[in-house]
Symmetry: C2
Subunit: 130 residues, 2 copies
DNA sequence: AGTATACGAAACCAAAAGGTTGCATGTCAA
DNA sequence: TTGACATGCAACCTTTTGGTTTCGTATACT
């Protein structure tokens, strides 16, 4: 169900600091565009564009109410970020655990945890002329 | 001690899909540039530039070994992403919990959880002409 | 010494990003 | 109906981004 054909994904959407502030603001409360743009030093149109990008990433939802368009945050797409991050958490967890073990055993030598040590090298095509 | 003057932050660094693949690859094993670039359809120089950006964000570390530069992933900066994300987790947690409650109680009405309902409006300067 | 390999730096380019101003349109208030 | 407000859209501009090719230099191999 997750739309993967989107022009703007969540990674790209949150890359911009203004958009992160926008998200923060809209997480606190739903707001129409002009009210939103009052919180930023840029033009309303610029804010509107950012909102569009967030919208395409599914991070905000708009609702027309009379002449205003109210935006609210939509947290679901952050799930993708979360699962992406989850993969990498084990790496710094490992480091933390290693450190913890080190501290607990204090003067003991660090036991190299099992892991890939070999470095990927040439593809094996070195005999070009022979 | 967290460097905040960096030209490239972690959000921007992971925004590019190529760089995310790069991270993935380097999380599996340390690798020199040419070997890395064999995994991508772009030039070695382009890969090198991406590596530079990741490096500036602290997400990879390089080590010169003879004529090659070996890169390895450095997970620590992802901590920032993690903590950023942590703030938003409560939002979808709320939704999940609400859903869970709903499912558990099945045919029961959804009790609106306490939260800001009011919308930020005008700053109060509507009496301009009097 | 001479050649091949690994890499970075520089110059250059097209497209995307982030911003602006101006205009058109829909809606609310007298 | 007339005017103010809220917004979207189009045109335009500048800077950044992601990419290329070419070249220089350090290191390794024989």
């Amino acid at each position: 169900m997750s739309s993967s054909t989107a022009k703007h994904d969540v990674f790209q959407a949150i890359a911009d600091p203004t958009r992160r502030k926008l998200l923060q603001l809209l997480s606190e409360q739903e707001m129409p565009v002009t009210a939103i743009s009052r919180h930023f030093p840029i033009s309303r149109t610029a804010v509107s564009k950012h909102l569009r990008i967030l919208s395409e990433a599914g991070l905000v939802k708009e609702q027309r109410v009379g002449r205003e368009t109210r935006y609210r945050m939509q947290p679901e797409p952050l799930e993708e970020l979360r699962s992406w991050l989850a993969y990498y958490e084990r790496f710094w967890d490992n480091k933390l655990n290693a450190l913890k073990r080190l501290v607990e055993n204090e003067h003991q030598a660090e036991s190299q945890p099992a892991g890939p040590r070999l470095v990927e090298r040439e593809a094996g095509q070195s005999s070009k002329k022979g």
